[in-house]
Symmetry: C2
Subunit: 363 residues, 2 copies
């Protein structure tokens, strides 16, 4: 890798001097994948992670933004510098409503110790989870003590983003419906702390009970199935499973934040609007952090995150090389004519493109 371009070197200097406008510009550089952004990240992130990273996810309307605002206020009150990354999936049917929540964070707009960045998943085809995690890394490198990552748990992309955090808080509300049902579908694997928010509503205690039951069921299952090291790092346990290259077989697929053993997952009740239960949540997060550090799990999670990042960056780079290459584009144009005439299929054409790219193949 060569040096940074002069403008990016200047940006990095201002970034390192703590200029929040430089942070904003660095984030845009990464979000837009402008030329040189990967090298900028390489240089900017060379110090490794140091912030305490807290992810919050849950269904739309669970009050995550209010909870994030309450947590941000508490950490600011304790003298910490706080960064917030809020990822809004503007899916066709939830779009506007979710973004409306953002307004609550405006209380912090004039506080120089707080930095808030909203990102939208709309229109992204797979790159969003990666660039969201890179934005979290940038905030970490910028020097925030605490980073809060808020995502709506409505899809795989959103769940993946929680992989940027050390501690993941799953926020549910009594209206989320059957807790076990919700658990079945992916949140159980990622939550280090569960919160039933809006706990002044009917059904809160029932949901707490259901979540606890589901967690115990899972624990029994985990004892039977999970290998000694729950985080898979590049097939160190042997060859990668064959036949599912884009799915379970690729490195880094395991949730980087698979709950640590020896940690009893708390299920708490909060009313974010009034601050009820907030102290308990702050305490649970602090205890989880201590547990991560003491058990060596923090290092394991950071290593898994690095592994996942390498994978993502490699795939992004391979895609770029494939589609920015003039000869490849030429071959595709003529190849599609052949497909249209029935002389080729997309599969034989794809094989030609891969041969073009790799030549004699990987060594």
């Amino acid at each position: 890798m060569d040096g940074l371009s002069p403008p990016q070197a200047g940006l990095l200097e201002r970034f390192r001097a703590g200029d929040p406008r430089a942070l904003s510009r660095a984030i845009s550089l990464v979000e837009d994948e402008r030329p040189g952004f990967q090298h900028f990240l390489h240089v900017a992130l060379s110090g490794g992670p140091s912030a305490r990273r807290l992810g919050l996810t849950g269904p739309p309307g669970a009050g995550k933004s209010t909870l994030v605002a309450a947590l941000a206020g508490a950490y600011r009150g304790a003298g910490e510098r706080v960064g917030v990354v809020a990822v809004d999936p503007t899916s066709p049917f939830t779009g506007g409503a979710l973004l409306g929540d953002r307004i609550r964070m405006n209380d912090f707009a004039t506080d120089p110790g707080t930095f808030i960045r909203s990102m939208a998943t709309r229109g992204s085809l797979g790159g969003l989870a990666t660039s969201s995690r890179e934005v979290v890394d940038l905030m970490d490198a910028f020097g925030f003590d605490r980073i809060l990552v808020e995502t709506v748990g409505v899809g795989q992309t959103e769940l993946e983003i929680t992989g940027a955090a050390d501690t993941v808080v799953v926020v549910l509300v009594p209206e989320s419906g059957d807790g076990i049902q919700a658990m079945k579908a992916g949140l159980m694997e990622i939550g280090d702390v569960f919160v039933v928010n809006k706990a002044d509503r009917a059904g809160a205690d029932r949901l707490v009970g259901e979540v606890r039951t589901a967690l115990h069921l899972r624990e029994g299952e985990a004892l039977r199935n999970v290998p000694a090291h729950p985080v898979a790092v590049f097939g160190s346990g042997g060859p990668a499973p064959a036949g599912r290259p884009t799915g379970g077989g690729a490195p880094g697929d395991a949730p980087p934040s698979a709950p640590a053993r020896g940690w009893e997952i708390p299920v708490l009740k909060t009313v974010a609007q009034t601050g009820e239960g907030l102290e308990l949540l702050l305490d649970a997060v602090a205890r989880h952090r201590a547990h991560l550090a003491d058990s060596g799990e923090l290092e394991a999670r950071r290593r898994a995150r690095a592994a996942r990042r390498v994978r993502d960056v490699v795939e992004r780079e391979l895609r770029r090389l494939a589609w920015d290459s003039g000869p490849v584009r030429d071959r595709l144009e003529t190849g599609l004519d052949r497909v249209g005439r029935g002389e080729a299929t997309p599969y034989s054409l794809a094989a030609e493109v891969v041969r073009d790219l790799l030549g004699s193949g990987p060594r």
Copy 2:
């Protein structure tokens, strides 16, 4: 590409003979990405597409399954062989409820002229849209006259799956809320026909009006912004836009079914439960198909689909080559140690991996 393995050659023979169990097995082969599945697809799909493909999407609870069942019944009644692919996104918060709908399709379970396949998006990291489209292609090659693809429009993946269809029907219900809001977020670009289902409920006419307004707004915008050929095929208009390799710049990103010019998008009312409005919908679908064929748009859409498929297959193959390679895995393991010691970053490590894979780089 070499020949098929003996078991897969046998499977292809039974597939071509019309054995529905062979279709089921071929679908599993593709869904599970078992060894040789891409070559199987290459051979099985060599005849190109011929079925009439109808995609239906919309919010959970819009009655899509009931509508699909009604349409399947109507096409069967007209003597057509009908295949149905239903993609259920088991997102953490909608999981069980959506799958419940499937039971309605059981009416067809004993009809040999109908074939129904459900797929779940749960746990997929980007490969699902591709394999769903490959399943649709398999059904096409198997010889169905009509293929109905039902997806819940809750995320990018689900919207992408509609790209397998020639005609996309967007199904809304009065409860979907503000039509313009829904339109803003992605459905407007993919719908060839809009249906307000459950039209016996309050607000149906208002929603029809809102959708029409949104479509007219969009039409004005399209006249200003859209190039003469709305479907981008591998940057034939010049070099790909720089800097967004994983996003807007890659080929095939444009919705393969961007509404055709010269087609007035109908906004219909149905009550799927009673069959009310079904004739109008059947007629609209038939007219759209005729329009596609007459305008040359059908060929343009098929070409765009092929382009997208090549892109997907190339990226899948590059990922597989990257992560199944022993030397790459070794480099990663030692490289992650260096990242942990602060001697490398994920970005420099990723660059090493790409160099390993490509050698002197693409020619």
